[in-house]
């Protein structure tokens, strides 16, 4: 079983986590057309390489981010959502 390193709880079996999907940036709901909005809801990019995604450690209810190479399934790093906010 894969190990995921939780920024708060350390390395744990991936069974302890809930996957919450890749980070997606919603278009402005007012400005977006129905087609643009539908693409945001339903279109999965699935581009090879490193993506940033949301995870939750269920026992501690801690939501964080991981950078993962979806081709090799290697987790490059994990970090707190606070860091994401700083990057914006």
């Amino acid at each position: 079983m894969k190990i995921l390193r939780c920024p708060m709880n350390g390395p744990r079996n991936i069974q302890e986590f809930q996957y919450l999907g890749p980070v997606r940036h919603a278009p402005d709901p007012e400005a977006a057309s129905d087609a643009e909005w539908a693409a945001y809801i339903f279109h999965a990019e699935n581009r090879p390489g490193v993506i940033t995604e949301w995870w939750r450690h269920t026992a501690s209810n801690y939501v964080f981010l991981a950078e993962r190479n979806i081709v090799t399934n290697t987790v490059v790093r994990t970090f707190d959502a606070w860091e994401m906010e700083q990057m914006r």
């Binding site: 708060m8 709880n9 350390g10 744990r12 079996n13 069974q15 302890e16 450690h57 269920t58 026992a59 501690s60 801690y62």
Partner: protein, 192 residues
């Protein structure tokens, strides 16, 4: 106002209390009725610090005057005592009297069952109940693990007698049954 917890007579899991007590191989003590409280959310850590409590880092515990302080998150703190404890009562009272911001009551005294495990077969039982390495060389005296234990989310930490486990109180019967299975297996099987 009389409180009733699952493993007390008439409680929701009271038919399983045969397994409790100072069993030779694996003793299980129910500490659910023991005093504790927790606060979480913005202001929690600052309020505790203001009370002169030296807070441990996240997922560590600290002890002051027979009270154990668990830090489950930056702003998620719990204090417990395995007997009547004046310090804890005083802290609780001053929290209620304090003005915000002071975090929010997290109802740990109602949401958790609290079991204390000890005995010769403890290591064998823990290996069967938890995938985290809880051996002394990997899991230190003041470490706290928020993990899966007996197939449920739980908080696990060391105490003098062995290990303390905190978990959703409505799962008491299930967890106790799983501990019984692990106790039996640990006694039968060789501790690896």
């Amino acid at each position: 106002m009389s409180a009733l917890f699952p493993l007390q007579p008439g409680g929701a899991a009271s038919e399983l209390t045969d397994g409790l007590g100072p069993h030779a191989a694996l003793s299980i003590r129910d500490l659910t009725p023991m005093p504790r409280f927790g606060i979480k959310g913005a202001g929690s850590a600052a309020w505790f610090a203001g009370q002169g409590v030296a807070l441990p880092p996240v997922n560590r515990l600290a002890q002051h005057d027979d009270t154990t302080f668990l830090r489950l998150g930056t702003n998620d703190l719990v204090c417990l005592a395995d007997g009547d404890n004046e310090g804890l009562t005083r802290l609780r009272r001053s929290w209620h009297d304090a003005a915000a911001p002071k975090g929010y009551w997290s109802w740990r005294e109602e949401s958790w069952a609290w079991l204390r495990l000890g005995g010769a077969a403890l290591e064998g039982a823990l290996q069967r109940l938890c995938a985290v390495d809880l051996r002394a060389q990997s899991f230190r005296q003041q470490d706290v693990a928020q993990t899966r234990f007996a197939h449920v989310d739980a908080v696990v930490f060391r105490c003098e007698a062995g290990f303390d486990i905190l978990f959703d109180i409505t799962l008491t019967a299930q967890v106790l049954a799983a501990i019984e299975v692990a106790r039996h297996a640990a006694e039968q099987g060789e501790a690896s």
